[in-house]
Symmetry: C3
Subunit: 668 residues, 3 copies
């Protein structure tokens, strides 16, 4: 549980070991000023805690924990295992990963550890256990944070052995592996477990199932590292101290559905680009995805108060944007709003990544905005902490499908899984429809509509789940290139699973016609009305006789063929409609299914999200927007105390958090 005291967490990564201790006092003062409730400590402190093999230097951390406790600032304490000290690589070179070209990944940055290295695991466990023993019952401790952004690959020899063990556990026999991998193709039959290697540099396209299993293995190997440390910190802490590790969202390396089940708190790092006009939609999507994984409140472990430093051009957040996106996270289920990092570094690789206290210090605009956010969050906890608002619509998302569908040698290299998912989420967001993310094997029965933007790989269980959902009256909308492959990345007979074809009304799928970057296909409803262009993809297919063709291709080689099909409440979109058309199609299907926005009559840039007893209105535009409130309803904005009836007007990046004053439906 993130907020046992119904206070939202507010704070950030705090790395005081980068500063002389005289700065700490200033930190404490400013933290109080900013309303910081907790900080994350120790994420990269291994070499500070264990400067030499076996040494333990806990004194500075003792002082720090005590100091924070005195200030009533809680601590999210990290195991420091994401960045081993240089001596580990020097003494145990096998802890350094190898990339697929055989190149060593050296120390000098961070995350230079092989998940499969026994020496790494041994040393990581030792420092973790000692840390847990020492601080597991410290009164400042609020949460354990294991490692950081698990994300490394290793193609070296120790990883090869671990990969073999993983495969042996999965397939039991070489025959089963050969069958699953289709090694009859290109003479890849393995006759010994020793024949199995990670995918390494090769002459041409590599075995797709080897690549897929290697990604599964990597996610599982990293998860093993997490679970081992989680178990150690749990063993030495009271039961109420939760354990988390922070996800990089929409990162391909971890199956976060699987991982979330092993966490007490699901936490995430969200870094929308301040220049992206749809940055707010991106932030919403990360929230919806993380909330889906958490199945309840979640933690925003990292965001930036200003610019990051890893884009080509790193834009600051303009005045108001930090507040808007922070409150948006709360509206969409976050019980903790934190930053990387508290005080912007003066040295090291991230010194141009912003902090809550920027290089300009307490005088800077950035800190002024942080203080305002801290003050506002302090008043929100009682309204929203712990509240979970499930929605009527589920967006299906699955890492295995992403891994399999994104490989080389597919019909099109232009289709990026994350772009398609984002396009569909955007359509729903712009239609003001609240959504959850879900896994295709989840129980979907509570949803009125389920959309599968682009699930190339669907297991038999997932297919049965979708068919059952649709048979029970649910609305299912599928995007192109869905249901193509089975769990082993074996193409289903007919190029699309027969169950799905039956459901969607596809009789024969002749050919996929992927589109060039600048290519568009014209589409139109047979009787007029809807008319749009599609991008990325099109398909040559024959519809089942009883399917309804909602739009046909116009012109080109596919002239007259079905572009959008439905059979009952199951829809198939064989292209990616332009944003307004996709929004219309999904909004129509949602309306038919009975899913509606939280408020009607919303202007385009305003998001309305209910949480707890509040209705958040979030304005993503730079002008003014007026939002009609329900007739007769009266609200108080808990951020300002202002009362609103009839309409509420939001300025640039404006937010109100409306609590109902009385409930009267209609009037006049």
């Amino acid at each position: 549980m993130i907020t046992p005291d119904r206070r939202l967490l507010f704070g950030g990564d705090y790395n005081p070991e980068q500063w002389p201790e005289e700065v700490w006092a200033d930190d404490m003062r400013l933290m109080k000023e900013a309303g910081v409730t907790s900080v994350t400590v120790g994420v990269f402190s291994w070499s500070k805690l264990e400067p030499r093999p076996g040494a333990r230097e806990f004194g500075w951390l003792d002082r720090l924990m005590d100091l924070l406790h005195q200030q009533d600032v809680g601590v999210v304490l990290a195991t420091p295992t994401a960045s081993p000290p240089p001596w580990l690589g020097r003494l145990h070179p096998q802890t350094l990963p190898r990339d697929e070209n055989g190149r060593t990944v050296w120390w000098g940055s961070r995350q230079h550890f092989s998940h499969s290295s026994s020496a790494y695991r041994h040393h990581a466990a030792a420092i973790t256990e000692d840390l847990a023993k020492r601080y597991g019952h410290h009164p400042a401790l609020r949460m354990w944070h294991v490692n950081n952004e698990y994300c490394t690959f290793d193609h070296g020899d120790e990883a090869a052995r671990a990969f073999r063990d993983w495969l042996r556990a999965k397939y039991h026999t070489l025959d089963a592996l050969n069958d699953a991998w289709g090694t009859a193709f290109w003479s890849q039959h393995v006759s010994s477990w020793q024949d199995v290697i990670p995918p390494r540099r090769a002459q041409y396209l590599r075995n797709p199932t080897q690549l897929l299993d290697f990604r599964r293995f990597t996610s599982d190997a990293l998860l093993e590292c997490y679970v081992a440390e989680r178990d150690l910190v749990r063993r030495h802490s009271p039961d109420h101290i939760p354990v988390t590790t922070n996800f990089m969202p929409l990162w391909t390396g971890q199956d976060a559905w699987e991982w979330a089940g092993h966490e007490d708190v699901v936490s995430v790092d969200s870094y929308p680009d301040p220049r992206d006009p749809l940055g707010g939609q991106y932030n919403a999507m990360i929230a919806d995805m993380t909330r889906g994984q958490a199945r309840g409140p979640w933690m925003l472990m990292e965001q930036a108060a200003g610019p990051v430093n890893w884009r080509g051009v790193n834009h600051p957040k303009p005045q108001g944007l930090n507040r808007l996106w922070s409150l948006q996270a709360v509206a969409r289920g976050a019980d903790a709003v934190c930053y990387f990092q508290w005080r912007q570094s003066r040295q090291g690789a991230e010194k141009f990544h912003s902090g809550m206290v920027s290089h300009a210090g307490a005088e800077g605009r950035t800190f002024a905005e942080v203080k305002r956010i801290g003050a506002e969050l302090a008043g929100l906890g009682e309204h929203v902490a712990g509240a979970h608002t499930p929605s009527d619509i589920a967006v299906l998302h699955d890492w295995h499908s992403w891994w399999a569908g994104g490989q080389d040698g597919r019909p099109s290299s232009r289709v990026a899984y994350e772009d398609v998912v984002r396009a569909w989420h955007r359509a729903l967001w712009e239609a003001h429809l609240p959504v959850d993310f879900a896994h295709p094997e989840h129980d979907l029965s509570a949803y009125k509509m389920v959309v599968a933007p682009h699930l190339y790989l669907l297991t038999d269980a997932a297919l049965d789940n979708l068919v059952a959902y649709a048979r029970a009256g649910g609305t299912l909308v599928c995007g192109f290139f869905t249901g193509v492959a089975d769990a082993d990345d074996r193409v289903r007979a007919g190029g699309m699973d027969a169950r799905l074809r039956e459901l969607l009304g596809v009789r024969v799928l002749h050919e996929w016609w992927p589109l060039e970057d600048d290519e568009r296909v014209d589409c139109a409803a047979p009787g007029g009305g809807l008319s749009f262009t599609g991008s990325l993809w099109s398909e040559e297919l024959t519809a089942a006789p009883d399917a309804e063709v909602r739009a046909r291709y116009r012109g080109g080689e596919l002239d007259g063929l079905p572009a959008v099909l439905r059979r009952g409440r199951a829809w198939y979109l064989s292209t990616l409609p332009d944003p307004p058309a996709l929004r219309t199609l999904l909004a129509d299907a949602a309306a038919e299914a009975g899913a509606r926005p939280a408020l009607s009559g919303l202007p385009p840039d305003v998001e309305a999200v209910p949480r707890g007893d509040l209705l958040f209105l979030l304005h993503h535009g730079r002008g003014e927007a007026t939002v009609p409130l329900p007739d007769g309803a009266a609200y108080q904005d808990v951020l300002t105390g202002d009362e609103h009836t009839g309409t509420v007007t939001l300025g640039r990046f404006g937010v109100v958090a409306l609590a109902p004053r009385k409930r009267g439906r209609g009037a006049a």
Copy 2:
């Protein structure tokens, strides 16, 4: 001989080891339906045939060969050596190639063998010989297919030793090598054979002749692999079984002129892009090149029935295009039309490469078109099989020139050899002029016109050959940057060979002026008329007094200098004229030389190609085209039986194969 029975071969790669044997019966049924006459078997079957070192698993292949023979489907049997089993790399790591950066090329794809590895050669010979012994006299056997698309490089130590041996055989002494390589430059003098290495990662530009010789060596080392296997299969087969290996055309790795001399049948893989508006011209060029190498009928070993899977975006073939290009291949000399592959894979790296039987199966559009092609080809063999129609024009092409001229450190990195050759072939194709490809040292006396689009390197023998050809009255048209270097990539005195300068009327070649990507030079005939833009290249030269300047540069630094020169029937084009101008220039020169289209009055998109007793008309457009037939002539289209006089109208991608009914020249 490809077609001893005058039946064109029709079929494709057949890899039934990827499927359960119960699918085989369905394969047989569909092959009969499609008119398949032969299939290529075993291309990547090594690990199936020898799953463990020394094992032999021939049972499945015995059953398959017998089954195919029962169905009267011939077998082109492949040696499986293009993709060694994983155990070979594991037990003999030195069989794995190293790239120029020292990175190992691992198994997990295909072609992970070093041509110079003795372990590879030993194991390849063993499985090849056993295969030949077992099936050399099998009644289904029609042809041997050695390996597949030989195309690998190795920069490792075993290849270094082989490279040294190759160089010793070529140069005999280190002095000769030092002289040829120009090692006085940059202190590269080798004082021991051990100083010689393959070109590997270096600080800056590498020795050009080392690079050139390494390409020659690689082509020869791969050829040795081929010849070794060819000799083994020949030893164990009847004399009438021909041997081939399939070329990747316009691929830089093999000197196909040299290789063709070691094959009984020259076969090629042709994969024009269905999206390329000039895909038909590309297919024609591959045909003309392969026919030149074969000096007669050739085999289309691989094409795609639909999309491939190795482009960024892989387009299917629209309705009719597979048929058009298949018949075009026959018109231009193919006696075999085959596909990769029979049944589209469900697993492995090429499961999104189309098959004759696509994922949609027998119901799909793709298979329907395959059946039509099979039926039509069955009727063509009696008219064309074995027939070779040489043409009046030769396009000169040479790998050594390509290798030398395409290196770094040249006047322009923008000039791609294959693009220039293609531009010239396109001009001739659009002018409806049939051409052969030839090597610059071939006997050219039968040709009325010879064009050398871009032969940077010309040996003394080639130069003497061209001069003799021109002196004997032949028309010779040379493109820019031709005759610059000798066989060792040594620049000829004056920047262009003196014999060639004399022939073409170039007195002094001051400087090359290569052009930027978007740069064009204006050119015009001195007296008006011809006016065009040139791209890629221009030159600052002084013409000989008796040369005729056909076009001059206009404006810019070269204003007034000669762009197109001729001296008698020898022409020099010092830029790449735009397509219409190049077509005009070449058509004029051809007309003067007496070379003419097969039919006059052809519309732009229609190709007319005579072969055997047929005149093929091939329409590459999507609309309709009407072709005037010779006055008084009457034809029957052997594909449909329709009779045509006066004109024939071709629909989208239409083809007729006209046999003369009576011969009446003119009338009225």
Copy 3:
């Protein structure tokens, strides 16, 4: 001293070992024709001089030196150590560098030596000493040229040891190193010198100070190689023989300010792109930079008579451009004008790099122009040799700032140090203002104006220097992102050094707002007048109350904030103004400071540069330009003997070198 006899050096690299000796006689004849005074010999002759380990083959060089001496052609004799013979790499593989990915840099090109290899240093010293002993007193010897374009990196193990030694000498203790590198960040604390490695391939961003120190170390390690050879050749030569090594200008690898102090003659290679409309400005900048390093006359060691061969498209020099740029170098302080190389190679990696004698030979246009230049230079020495004309304006430039500011993980990857410096130099060049380059720690008191286009890193000494300069009344103009970091790349408190903020009138620097490639910000003077767009960068800052805002941002997030500030004579430009605006801003500041062009009323394309008793007018345009001469002054063009009063008209690429005839100020 370059020109003890007041004859300008004219010549080029001469590599006769690439040619049969019978060509040498022709070389001598043509050198006399061209007015060649000296040639550089032996740059890449190691394998010719020492074909086997320990062998010495000096015979050819004896003959060559004697022959040149007979012809009165001086010799700049090179140590041949830039390209070791293949046997060195074979016998001592540790002499071959490793790149940051661990890949070996093999022989086969040049510069395949590790600066830190003891075996390399040993063999280089041996051949250098023997060469010096043999030719140190040869009468042809004019200068020693050590190595060539020192520019290699090594990340291997021997370099790692040398890097550790260098760091130990700099920091003495690990604590000091840990502090300077900020190793508290990301757990990079080093507990043993063995933990320190060169920056190698890592998972993510690497330690910035490690990267910076590695560049410093590399420059110093190369300098050690230079100094070792310099000392050897000095030991065996008369005192009047100067020693040089040629710089690649604006190349990041060497701190040329440091290096220049170890040279008797500063020499440089200048290769402006003949296609660049501002090629003349580039050539001027290289001259100004090299003159600044030399603090007097310098040597143009290499330029191209025609095209180079290392660009994507290599353009020849149009008629007149070689002369224009050669005379420009002399005007800007060169006492030697030389080429790579004398005779264009027929073999090797640079055979398409032009020579003074091109492939076209003595008949070619290139050689004709070379002869003209040689003849003209012969008459200029008496007027300019040895003369140094310092200017009123200094452009500050520092490699350490470049190294630190150009790393990954900065606010913007779009800002290239060299582009910003070039933009500022261009503005001054177009304003006809002569400039020197200087180091920020140099004594600047002689300058009326100092500009710091982009000095991210400034040491305390440099800051104190700039402040003292400004306090003493000097005009200082600073560009954006200047004064951000200290010598260890530690960000200064406030994001910009407090001294500098105080000086420039910056109160709070809130955020940097770097711009996208195609993004521009509008700026305007508060009261109208100046109006321009800025690119690359903008800033959100609060001005000090007493600062004058010369331009504000208009529109966008920074609307109304200061873009250009001044406080007294200290200016701050927080964006990169468009070229006309930057020219205006700098010209205004210069005028106020009392810095003026050499001649007033100059047309845009004409450069006026005084040197010695001459005034050079150089016309960079292709049309005609008329230059007004001072009233009443009369000049003689020493190139032609023509007299000029009132005006002088220059044709395409025209140059006059005007000597005053009488001095009469005003008249009428």
